[in-house]
Subunit: 124 residues, 2 copies
Amino acid sequence: MTLESSVKISKALGESTRLKIIKLLSVRPMYVCELESVLKISQPRISQHLRIIKEAGLVKERKEAQRVFYMLQTDYLQSHLKKLINFLDEDLENLPEFEEENSRLQKLQCDSNVVNCKNIYENN
Amino acid sequence: MTLESSVKISKALGESTRLKIIKLLSVRPMYVCELESVLKISQPRISQHLRIIKEAGLVKERKEAQRVFYMLQTDYLQSHLKKLINFLDEDLENLPEFEEENSRLQKLQCDSNVVNCKNIYENN
DNA sequence: TGCTTATATAAGGATATTATTATATATATA
DNA sequence: TATATATATAATAATATCCTTATATAAGCA
């Protein structure tokens, strides 16, 4: 799980229309026009949100004649959420994307008693 | 878990600087100046992101002299993520915020064979 | 073939978000 | 008390997001 992909997925979940689309697709896969009819919002708006959800990897599509069938990748989403829970417990050393932050944090710990933030900052 | 609060938390997670702050605070609570020193980004930028994270309920603060100590509400965040996993499995009927969507979806199911999306839309 | 349906995409404006710079506030300290 | 430190907030500019309207594409259907 990269930071970037995690941000993308959280962004996909962090908008109410998209969260509704995702929940509806968890009930069953749907055509765009079905989402349109259930949500009562415009078709381009749905297509645009679906694109963001798709780019986050949360749905797969299947073209059926002129319709497009959208399927939520439930397992992928749920496993991502579980990874996010573990991410919070993970040692910083085990997260390559935090290499620099970790070394600065280590150094900061060594400067034992944090008396003065100004000094912390200047020394690091 | 309301939709709104869920969106707020996902939004808080859906930005790379904030996700980094949250991860760092999972290691241990920190002062703003420590975050500044570890992340090497400007103080106002950190304070502004902390405000968003705080408004999502993910951190608590404690003022200590002129410094402010930020503590991640790890249990709250993790329990939210677990609720989000369950949310995907939840029956639509049990989600008050999907009352209208659910009734439209029910009606749509009854119109048995989905031959024509145009008709679906006009009938609902 | 012409019309309808289903969806995607582009263009536009409105609003929101992010980052920077500047300033305010509060506390500590010399 | 004057100065330094720690943080928050305001103002601004740059960018991104979201929604609407309009258009393009592609597949049915009369």
